[in-house]
C-alpha cells in the first residue's frame, strides 16, 4: 500500500495515494473533471487540456492539467473556476472547429455553455487526443500507428502512409477513439482498417469468424499457444 496524502478538491477533503494524479483522486472521490485524452488504461499524456484545474499551494495559484499533475499533501484544487472554464470553453470551441458535429463534443459544449464555435471550421474529424496511438503502443504493444508532421499539420497516420506493417487489425484504435473517426469494416471474413484488408480466421468448431489472423498470430506469439489452439473453439461455442 503506498502512502496516502490528503488534499482538498472543491473544498472537500480527499485522500489519494502519493504518486497518483489529481484526476485519479477526483475520480475516486466521484468528482467529475471533463477530459478527452485521459484514460485510466494509458499513461498520463496531458494534451487535450480539457481537464485543467486551478491549484494553490500556499499563496500561488495556477492552472495545471489534472491528468498529469500529481497529488501532494495540502494541495488545494478547484475544478470549476472562471479561469478553468475559460480554457475549457476555448478547447471545446477549437475542437468543434475540427469536428463540429460529434455528439460527444456537442454534449461537452452544452455542459459548458458553448453554443458552437466562433472559429473558422476546417473539418478534420480527429481531435488528436492520441488515445489510438497510445493504446496501440501501450496496451496492444505494436506501435502500428503514430503521429505524422507537427503543429497544425499533425495527424495520426501509418508509417509512410502505407499499409501498416505492424498492425494486427485488433481494432483497439477504432474502439478507443472518442470521436469515432477511425473507420473499421468487417465483411465476408475480412476486416478492413487503415485502408488494409486483413483476413480473419474462423472457429474450427462452429465456423464463426473469430478474429483477424494477424491478431491471433500476435496472441499466439505472446501467450506461447499455437494458432491451432486459438482456433479450436471460440467464445460462442466454448
Amino acid at each position: 500500500m503506498s502512502e496516502m496524502v490528503t488534499l482538498k478538491i472543491n473544498g472537500r477533503q480527499v485522500q489519494a495515494p502519493a504518486g497518483s494524479t489529481v484526476i485519479e483522486a477526483a475520480r475516486d472521490a466521484n468528482i467529475h473533471i471533463p477530459n478527452l485524452c485521459s484514460n485510466p488504461e494509458l499513461e498520463p499524456y496531458g494534451a487535450c487540456r480539457m481537464c485543467m484545474v486551478e491549484i494553490s499551494h500556499g499563496k500561488r495559484t495556477r492552472l495545471v492539467a489534472s491528468c498529469i499533475y500529481e497529488v501532494s499533501e495540502g494541495l488545494e484544487v478547484k475544478t470549476d473556476t472562471q479561469r478553468v472554464n475559460n480554457v475549457r470553453r476555448l478547447v471545446i470551441e477549437l475542437m468543434l472547429s475540427r469536428n463540429p458535429k460529434h455528439p460527444r463534443l456537442l454534449e461537452l459544449a452544452a455542459q459548458h455553455g458553448v453554443e458552437g464555435t466562433r472559429f473558422e471550421i476546417d473539418v478534420r474529424g480527429c481531435i488528436l487526443c492520441g488515445q489510438c496511438v497510445r493504446t496501440c503502443r501501450e496496451v496492444v504493444g505494436v506501435s502500428a500507428i503514430g503521429f505524422e508532421s507537427r503543429g497544425t499539420q499533425r495527424r495520426v497516420a501509418t508509417p509512410f502512409n502505407e499499409s501498416p506493417a505492424e498492425c494486427i487489425a485488433c481494432g483497439s484504435c477504432a474502439y478507443i477513439c472518442p470521436v469515432d473517426v477511425i473507420p473499421l469494416k468487417e465483411k465476408d471474413g475480412v476486416r478492413t482498417i487503415w485502408k488494409t484488408d486483413f483476413p480473419m480466421l474462423q472457429c474450427r468448431s462452429c465456423g464463426r469468424t473469430i478474429a483477424p489472423k494477424r491478431q491471433l498470430e500476435h496472441f499466439a506469439k505472446i501467450t506461447g499457444q499455437s494458432l491451432d489452439d486459438l482456433t479450436k473453439s471460440c467464445v460462442h461455442c466454448r
Partner: protein
C-alpha cells in the same frame, strides 16, 4: 600535447601560449563569424594570406581569424593590433593597403574608418566607436581577440584558470554557493537563478547527473549563442566543466542546431583539444573528478529549445514537451537529475569564479546581475550583437549603441524576447532593462532578441508575423497552442484584410489569456504575447484596420493604395524602372502616375523613391 596534471602545468602552458605572440608585432584580426563570412570575408583573408606569403612577411605580420566582433552592420571588418585600428566594410582591393600602410607602417587608412553618423567624424580605434563604447563586453569581448580554433589562444588570455581555481581551491558546494551569491540568472529565456538549479541538481537523488548546454537558438533574428559558440567555444566548455564539478555530473551534452555548421565545427574541435589536454575526460587536471560530453545536433525545431522537448530529442524521440510537473533537476534527461543552461549562461561561469561573486553581483540591477548580450536587429542603424550591463535603458541601447533609426524615421516599438516576446512602445524606452522590468511590460528578456520597428511597421502585421512563426513551430501536441494560435492568426488575417470586427479584439484578448493558461509548455504559454502586447500598446492601429479599413503604417495590402504626389515628384523615373507590373509610368522629368488596376502593392516604388513622392494611403 601533454596532459595538464596540476595548476602549475596550466600556468606553464598559459605562459607559453602568451609567449607565442610578440605584442609589438602587428596583428590583423579579421572577424570570421558567420555574418562576416557571408559578406565574403573568407576571400579577403585568403588574399591577405597569399599576399603575406608572396611578400615573405610571415615573420612581420600576424593574421588572426577571430569569431564575431558584433558590429555585423559594418562587415567585413578587422581590428589591427597593437593600435586597435578599426576597419570596416573592407573590400578585396583594400588588402594591399592594409598590409603596406597599416600593418607595416602603422598608417591609418582614412577610407576604411568608421564615420560617426551623428558627429560626422571618423573614428580610428575600435573602443572609441560609439557602438562599442557603451557596451560592457565581459562575455563577448574575447571573441575579437582569439582564434576560436586555437586552445592556445584561449590559454593565452588566462583560459581554464577558473577551472583550475574551482577544482583545486574550492569544494563543489562552494562553487554552487558562489554562483548563487553572484545571482546569475539563466540567459535562455526563463531567467531562473542558475545557482539554485545547480544546487537542486546537486542534491537530487539519482545517478548519473547530466548537464546540458542549450544551443538550440531559434528566435528569428537572434544569433548571440551561435556567435559565442563560434567565437569562443572554450569559454562555454570551461563553464560546463566547472558546472559539472559543482553539480557532481559526469556526463554532459551540447544540444546545438545543425543549421549552425561553424558553431558545430568549432565546438567539436574545442572538445577534442580540451580532451587532449586533460581538461575533459578522466581525472581532469590531475584530480579524481571526471567528466566528458557529447554533441547532439538538433534538427531545427524551435520547440526543442524547451527543456522537456530537448530531452526527448536527445533520447531519440520526437521533440515534444512533456509536462510532468517534475523539475528537470530531479528528473530530466533519461529521468535523471539534469541541469540545462544555455550557451551564454555557461560562458558567464568562468567570469564569476575568476572574479568572485561580489564583483559579479556588483554589475546590473537588484535582481538581474551581470551583462546580457542582445541581438539588435530590424530598423536600426547599427545592426549587431551588443553586450550591455543589466539595467541599461532601452533608449541607450537603441540610440547610443544602435545609432537610432535609419533614414530619420520615427521609432515605433521594440520587440524583445523572441517571437513570443512583446512589443514595447516609445513611452517605456527609459525603463531599465532587466528580467523583471521586461516581464512587467508584458514582454520578456527571452534569449535576447531585440527587433526595432519604425513608423513603417504595422503592428497588426508584426503580431501576425510572429504568430505565423509560432504556428509553424508548434509541436501540435496540445490543443490550445496547436489550434488556438492558428485561429488567432486567422483572425489577424481577417483584420489585415479589412474584414475584422470590433468583437474580434475581445475574442483575441480572451483567447490569449486562455491559451497562455491552458498550454502544455512555454511555447504555447507565451505565444499570445505578441498579440496581447500590441493590443495593449497599439490598440488604435487595430481599430483603424477594423473601423476605418485603414492601415496607418501603410503595410496591409488590402487596405492601401499607392499614389504619386504631383508636388514632390521630380520625374526621376526610378519608380517606373523598378515597378514589376508597369503600373508606375511617366516620361522622364515629368509627373509619374500609378495605374491602380495594374498595381500589385509590392511597395517597390515607395521604398525606392528618393524624394518621398510615393504616398501610401
Amino acid at each position: 600535447m601533454k596532459k595538464i596534471k596540476s595548476p602549475a602545468d596550466l600556468t606553464k602552458l598559459q605562459e607559453a601560449a602568451k609567449q607565442r605572440f610578440d605584442p609589438e608585432k602587428p596583428c590583423i584580426a579579421f572577424c570570421t563569424g558567420t555574418g562576416c563570412l557571408a559578406y565574403g570575408t573568407q576571400k579577403l583573408v585568403d588574399t591577405l594570406k597569399d599576399e603575406i606569403v608572396k611578400r615573405n612577411l610571415g615573420d612581420r605580420v600576424y593574421i588572426r581569424n577571430t569569431g564575431c566582433h558584433g558590429f555585423c552592420e559594418r562587415g567585413p571588418m578587422a581590428v589591427i593590433y597593437p593600435q586597435k585600428i578599426f576597419y570596416q566594410k573592407i573590400k578585396l582591393e583594400d588588402v594591399p593597403d592594409i598590409i603596406e600602410k597599416t600593418a607595416l607602417k602603422g598608417e591609418v587608412i582614412d577610407r576604411l574608418l568608421y564615420k560617426d553618423p551623428v558627429t560626422k567624424t571618423k573614428i580610428v580605434k575600435e573602443d572609441e566607436v560609439p557602438f562599442y563604447k557603451k557596451q560592457m563586453r565581459l562575455v563577448f569581448g574575447m571573441n575579437g581577440l582569439i582564434e576560436p580554433t586555437s586552445i592556445e589562444d584561449y590559454l593565452a588570455i588566462g583560459g581554464y584558470g577558473a577551472l583550475a581555481k574551482a577544482l583545486h581551491q574550492m569544494q563543489p558546494q562552494q562553487v554552487v554557493d558562489e554562483v548563487i551569491a553572484a545571482k546569475l540568472r539563466g540567459r535562455g529565456g526563463g531567467g531562473f537563478p542558475t545557482g539554485w538549479k545547480w544546487d537542486a541538481t546537486r542534491k537530487a537523488q539519482g545517478e548519473p547527473k547530466y548537464i546540458i548546454c542549450n544551443a538550440d537558438e531559434g528566435d528569428p533574428g537572434a544569433y548571440m549563442d551561435r556567435s559565442l559558440l563560434e567565437g569562443n567555444p572554450h569559454s562555454v566548455l570551461e563553464g560546463m566543466v566547472i558546472g559539472a564539478y559543482a553539480i557532481g555530473s559526469t556526463h554532459g551534452y551540447i544540444y546545438v542546431r545543425n543549421e549552425y555548421p561553424l558553431a558545430v565545427k568549432n565546438i567539436t574541435l574545442a572538445i577534442e583539444k580540451a580532451r587532449e589536454l586533460g581538461l575533459l575526460g578522466d581525472n581532469i587536471m590531475g584530480t579524481d573528478f571526471s567528466f566528458d560530453l557529447l554533441i547532439n545536433r538538433g534538427g531545427g525545431a524551435f520547440v526543442c529549445g524547451e527543456s522537456s522537448a530537448l530531452f526527448a530529442s536527445i533520447e531519440g524521440r520526437s521533440g515534444e514537451p512533456r509536462a510532468k510537473y517534475v523539475h528537470a533537476t530531479d528528473r530530466g534527461l533519461y529521468n535523471k537529475p539534469t541541469t540545462l543552461n544555455n550557451v551564454e549562461t555557461w560562458a558567464n561561469v568562468p567570469l564569476i569564479i575568476n572574479n568572485g561573486s561580489a564583483w559579479y553581483a556588483g554589475i546590473g540591477t537588484e535582481k538581474s546581475k551581470g551583462t546580457k548580450i542582445f541581438s539588435l536587429v530590424g530598423k536600426i542603424n547599427n545592426t549587431g550583437l551588443v553586450e550591455v550591463p543589466m539595467g541599461i535603458t532601452l533608449r541607450e541601447i537603441i540610440y547610443e549603441i544602435g545609432g537610432g533609426i535609419p533614414k530619420g524615421r520615427k521609432f515605433k516599438a521594440v520587440q524583445t524576447g523572441g517571437p513570443s516576446g512583446g512589443c514595447i512602445p516609445e513611452e517605456h524606452l527609459d525603463m531599465p532593462v532587466d528580467f523583471d522590468a521586461l516581464t512587467d511590460l508584458g514582454s520578456m528578456m527571452g534569449s535576447g532578441g531585440m527587433i526595432v520597428m519604425d513608423e513603417r511597421n504595422c503592428m497588426v502585421d508584426v503580431a501576425k508575423y510572429f504568430l505565423s512563426f509560432l504556428e509553424g513551430e508548434s509541436c501540435g501536441k496540445c490543443t490550445p497552442c496547436r489550434e488556438g494560435v492558428l485561429q488567432m492568426r486567422k483572425i489577424l488575417d481577417r483584420i489585415c484584410e479589412g474584414k475584422g470586427a470590433m468583437e474580434d479584439l475581445d475574442t483575441l484578448e480572451w483567447m490569449g489569456q486562455a491559451i497562455a493558461d491552458g498550454s502544455l509548455c512555454a511555447l504555447g504559454g507565451s505565444a499570445p504575447n505578441p498579440v496581447l502586447t500590441t493590443l495593449r500598446y497599439f490598440r488604435d492601429e487595430y481599430e483603424a484596420h477594423i473601423k476605418d479599413k485603414r492601415c496607418p503604417a501603410g503595410v496591409c495590402k488590402a487596405l492601401i493604395t499607392y499614389s504619386i504626389d504631383p508636388e514632390t515628384c521630380t520625374g526621376c523615373h526610378v519608380c517606373a524602372r523598378i515597378c514589376p507590373t508597369q503600373a508606375a509610368t511617366g516620361e522622364k522629368k515629368e509627373l509619374h502616375t500609378i495605374n491602380q488596376e495594374l498595381c500589385i502593392k509590392c511597395g517597390a516604388c515607395y521604398e525606392s523613391c528618393k524624394f518621398d513622392a510615393v504616398k501610401v494611403s
